[in-house]
């Protein structure tokens, strides 16, 4: 066992070891560089598992705290403050789980500038884990902004034909939201002489009208990241142009930084505003669900379809979170993980076929099942998971969210849940439509006849995700157990407010 005080520091910065090793490796030794990167990310994963083993699932408090003064700015302590609780533990695990998988997926796809690619990828992992663990607003902001840089390079150097446009758009769009959050953070730090999130929540005395502004400033950053309709326009560009591994991380983890931000900061810090804004957030979420689904259906490019489906799925997460009841939030958190797994897997699958055919147009395929049965079977499972088939992970999350939003007092109307349920049906339509286009029917294209089925490496990439898909789908109890005490704590904060209002 590792000392609980340092385990979060270890899990955050373990990838740095890989970065340093890769730096000293000669540029040409691609396989060694890949192996080191994979090794470093696996070590990180192992440490995160150790973290999970030490995690006290009965407690809703922040655990394994690492806290020290980082520096003083204008007599206010800015702290190095990491901690994990039920809100973040699964997301950390999701990050450490998806990173080695993504790295393994680049074995053949990334042949140029492997050294830089792996360095950026590992730096990105540091940033993402840091975002989920940081409990000092300043530290959080540093990690938050830092993730932009490696992702920007990943899209801009190794992306598709419009990569530069997509990379800059991604960077500027995200930064635009963050700067407003920065001002809000500044204001909080100035008025409470602390940037520590638990302390700020405990002080709980932000006036209601100011909460509105702060809520909006934080929401600007997170809503763009999620992305919520109508701030989603960076997403299709970034997802489509990013290299496969980048898309996996982008969809799998980076988007969750937005929803996590709402959960970690907006709701507990500004509960009063959160309650007031809940119907509006729910409205945007539902529009996102329906809009994302409709646009997905219209796509001809598989990757674009998957990208837009994220807008729809993240709408569910947001709906769950702003139901502001225990079920909704629990479902929202679980759905974050589910979306990370399913959509991550979908991007991997798209990447695999793209490596073979160098096109992603659905019209170029058809009847792939006959040529690549293993690929077809795995894709079917992931597709079904993504559309929420009972027995697979997506169902558990979406069902809990719908339950939560149906009974939510905060969002006020059951119409939201009703429309969201229609979104589930739409998801089935566009996902099955895609599956049919790719896999069913005759093999009528000459180029598709000779396609090779998945090799051992590709199967090894997908199997862990599929296992998780079944596990969460069939036996979600341990996952809910991890989440629920922390959610109860958030609920306690919220109830204190709603009672005060009444």
């Amino acid at each position: 066992m590792i000392e609980p005080k340092i385990i979060l520091t270890l899990v955050t910065f373990a990838p740095l070891l890989g970065v340093l090793l890769i730096l000293v490796l000669p540029r040409g030794r691609h396989n060694a560089i890949r192996a080191v990167a994979l090794g470093a990310s696996l070590v990180t994963f192992v440490i995160s598992i150790l973290m999970l083993l030490q995690f006290d699932r009965a407690s809703g408090d922040i655990q394994m705290v690492a806290r020290a003064s980082w520096f003083q700015l204008a007599n206010v302590d800015i702290e190095y403050f990491l901690g994990v609780d039920g809100l973040s533990v699964l997301l950390v695990l999701l990050t450490t789980f998806l990173t080695p998988i993504s790295i393994l997926s680049t074995w053949k796809a990334v042949k140029e500038r492997v050294k830089e690619f792996m360095i950026f990828f590992l730096l990105l992992e540091i940033g993402m884990i840091g975002v989920f663990l940081a409990l000092d607003l300043f530290l959080f902001y540093v990690f938050w902004e830092f993730t932009l840089v490696p992702m920007y390079f990943l899209i801009g150097i190794w992306g598709g034909s419009r990569r530069i446009y997509a990379a800059i758009k991604f960077f500027l769009y995200t930064m635009a939201g963050s700067i407003l959050m920065l001002l809000a953070i500044l204001w909080l730090g100035l008025n409470f002489d602390s940037f520590s999130v638990p302390d700020l929540i405990a002080s709980g005395s932000i006036p209601s009208n100011i909460q509105t502004w702060l809520f909006l400033a934080f929401a600007a950053a997170f809503a763009i990241k999620v992305p919520m309709w109508p701030l989603h326009s960076w997403l299709p560009d970034a997802h489509v142009e990013a290299p496969t591994a980048g898309s996996v991380i982008l969809a799998g983890v980076l988007l969750k930084m937005g929803t996590y931000g709402f959960l970690r900061f907006n709701i507990p810090l500004f509960p009063d505003a959160a309650v007031r804004f809940a119907p509006w957030m729910a409205l945007l979420a539902v529009i996102g669900i329906l809009y994302g689904a409709a646009v997905s259906y219209a796509q001809k490019d598989v990757k674009k379809l998957v990208a837009y489906s994220s807008v729809s799925h993240l709408g569910f997460v947001m709906l769950g979170l702003f139901a502001l009841n225990s079920q909704g939030i629990q479902g929202g958190i679980l759905q974050m993980v589910n979306h990370g797994l399913s959509t991550g897997a979908l991007f991997l699958l798209v990447g695999m076929i793209y490596e073979r055919r160098h096109t992603r147009e659905m019209d170029a395929f058809g009847g792939l099942w006959k040529v690549m049965p293993v690929y077809g079977a795995l894709t079917l499972i992931v597709t079904l998971s993504s559309m929420g088939l009972p027995g697979l992970n997506g169902f558990v999350g979406e069902f809990t969210i719908l339950l939560g939003s149906f009974g939510s007092a905060a969002i006020g109307s059951q119409l939201f849940a009703g429309f969201a349920a229609a979104g589930v049906i739409l998801a089935a339509i566009y996902m099955l439509y895609m599956f049919q286009k790719l896999f069913l029917g005759p093999v009528d294209k000459e180029e598709n006849k000779g396609l090779k089925d998945l090799d051992w490496r590709e199967i090894a990439i997908l199997v862990p995700i599929i296992v998780m898909i079944f596990w969460i789908g069939l036996y979600p109890k341990p996952f809910f157990e991890l989440i629920s005490p922390a959610v109860d704590k958030v609920m306690a904060t919220l109830q204190a407010v709603t009672q005060a209002v009444r």
């Binding site: 204008a74 830089e116 840089v149 150097i157 960077f171 930064m175 001002l183 204001w187």
Partner: protein
């Protein structure tokens, strides 16, 4: 004048006397060994640095109040000398390569540095003016140092004409202030002004305009792009950091300590100038294709960010932190900008080639370390964590929010977003476009790049030490 007076100006004295000595010594250094002057100049600066460090924590007046020494002075002195050392370091290879390696170069550098240092010592408007001229005159010559290169000469003449014009404003301002208060000493002005007269306000305004020229604030920035582009790049690098810091040294001290009674008049003015400077500098930079011009507009924009501290300092409660924030910003900007210019110096080829941003295409592949350093500088200028530029902006905006100038902070963050576009473009060109950039490797320039890049990154991650250093910057209080 007694010995005590002399000790108050010791760092300044060392630098300026050493400059005079070098002027003589240089005569005996053979033409092909002029590099020696650089080392001698650096040695003098190190001695000055030692004296400046000694003065940390000192609070004194000298020459009957004409000279003040306080934390603010010491911090600025150390900053100036640091900038001077970097300037010597990055000029060494560059001027040799350009064929303008003449001994006067380093001596002029020392003279202008001593002007900046005197500026930080000024306790009297006459000293401010003296320092301003001592700072400016050698810089005019340095700007035209690449003669008979026409661009360089044009740059010098433009800088001289507009600089002289600005000095005129300052003198006129001082004259009016003298007319209103019968004194030029900062302490005397505070004592004399209870309700500001029109004369006083006019003088105050003219003073702001004059120094606005020096720090390149909008709308007094017109000269900057042309001068920066035409001057030898090593001079521009020094100018963009040193001369700016020199201007701010006077601006902050005079306005905060001598004109607090008139804050309700100058604070709104300074606020608008800051907002306009941030906005226009960043917007105009987008259109630039030449890296020197782009960095020129970028330096205008950064003058705007530093200027945010001035209206914030108009609030007497916020003032101490605002001053520290400004100095911290100047230090962080010095690291970042000197580094960026060192990269420009490395990339510049004969006859002004290699100065277009497009010339950096493919640098990420050919010179990964150099490109990485440039990327770090660009991110720091944008204000992205974990670089020192982020901490600097955070500190400055904090002061603004503290003084309830939230809208000014908002302008600051929005213009930072705009600036991201053109800073990122440099990164795009270096890493995402292919090309065969011409590069070279020169010892001292490389050292500069490495040191500044490390500074930008390390102080971004661990700013504690630097923040503590900047927090020494306190004004000697005139009001008993």
């Amino acid at each position: 004048m007694d010995l005590n007076d002399l000790t108050t100006i010791l760092p300044f004295l060392i630098v300026i006397v050493w400059a005079c000595v070098l002027l003589l010594v240089d005569l005996f250094i053979p033409r092909e060994k002029k590099g020696l002057t650089a080392f001698l100049a650096a040695a003098g600066l190190v001695a000055g640095l030692a004296a400046a460090v000694q003065q940390l924590g000192m609070q004194a007046e000298g020459f009957g109040g004409m000279i003040v020494v306080d934390g603010y002075t010491a911090v600025l002195h150390i900053l100036f000398i640091g900038v001077g050392l970097f300037a010597v370091m990055q000029s060494y290879d560059y001027i040799k390569r350009k064929g303008i390696e003449r001994g006067e170069y380093y001596i002029l550098l020392l003279f202008t540095l001593s002007g900046m240092m005197l500026m930080a010592n000024a306790g009297d408007l006459i000293v401010v003016f003296l320092a301003l001229e001592l700072l400016s005159l050698p810089l005019y010559i340095l700007a035209g140092f690449a003669r008979p290169d026409l661009q360089s000469e044009e740059s010098a003449i433009k800088y001289f004409l507009l600089g002289a014009f600005a000095s005129g404003f300052v003198v006129y301002g001082i004259a009016l202030i003298f007319g209103a208060t019968m004194t030029t000493s900062l302490a005397g002005i505070v004592a004399a002004v209870k309700t500001p007269s029109v004369l006083m306000l006019l003088g105050c305004g003219l003073f702001l305009v004059g120094l606005g020229f020096k720090v390149a604030a909008v709308p007094f920035h017109m000269w900057t792009p042309d001068v920066y582009q035409g001057a030898p790049s090593s001079v521009t690098a020094f100018m963009s950091v040193g001369a700016k810091a020199g201007g701010f040294a006077a601006l902050l001290r005079v306005f905060v300590t001598a004109f607090p009674e008139m804050a309700s008049y100058w604070a709104p003015l300074a606020m608008w100038i800051a907002a306009l400077t941030m906005a226009w500098g960043n917007i105009a930079a987008i259109a630039q294709t030449n890296i020197k011009r782009m960095l020129a507009y970028s330096s205008i924009a950064h003058a705007g960010y530093i200027l945010v501290s001035l209206p914030a300092a108009a609030n007497s409660v916020v003032a101490p932190e605002a001053i520290r924030a400004a100095l911290f910003y100047l230090i962080s900007y010095a690291f970042t900008n000197l580094g960026a210019w060192a990269v420009v110096l490395t990339m510049e080829q004969a006859e002004g080639k290699g100065l277009e941003i497009e010339d950096y295409a493919g640098l990420g592949r050919k010179k990964p370390a150099l490109a990485l350093a440039m990327a770090i500088f660009m991110l720091s200028l944008t204000g992205m964590p974990p670089t020192v530029g982020f901490i600097g902006k955070f500190y400055i905006f904090r002061a603004a929010v503290d003084a309830e100038l939230v809208w000014l902070a908002l302008v600051g963050v929005i213009t930072s977003l705009i600036s991201a576009y053109y800073y990122l473009r440099v990164i795009v060109v270096m890493y995402m476009k292919s090309g065969e950039p011409q590069t070279r490797s020169e010892g001292w320039l490389n050292t500069t790049v490495v040191l500044t890049a490390l500074g930008t990154l390390v102080f971004g991650l661990l700013p504690g030490l630097l923040l503590e250093f900047a927090s020494q910057a306190q004004f000697l209080s005139f009001i008993p």
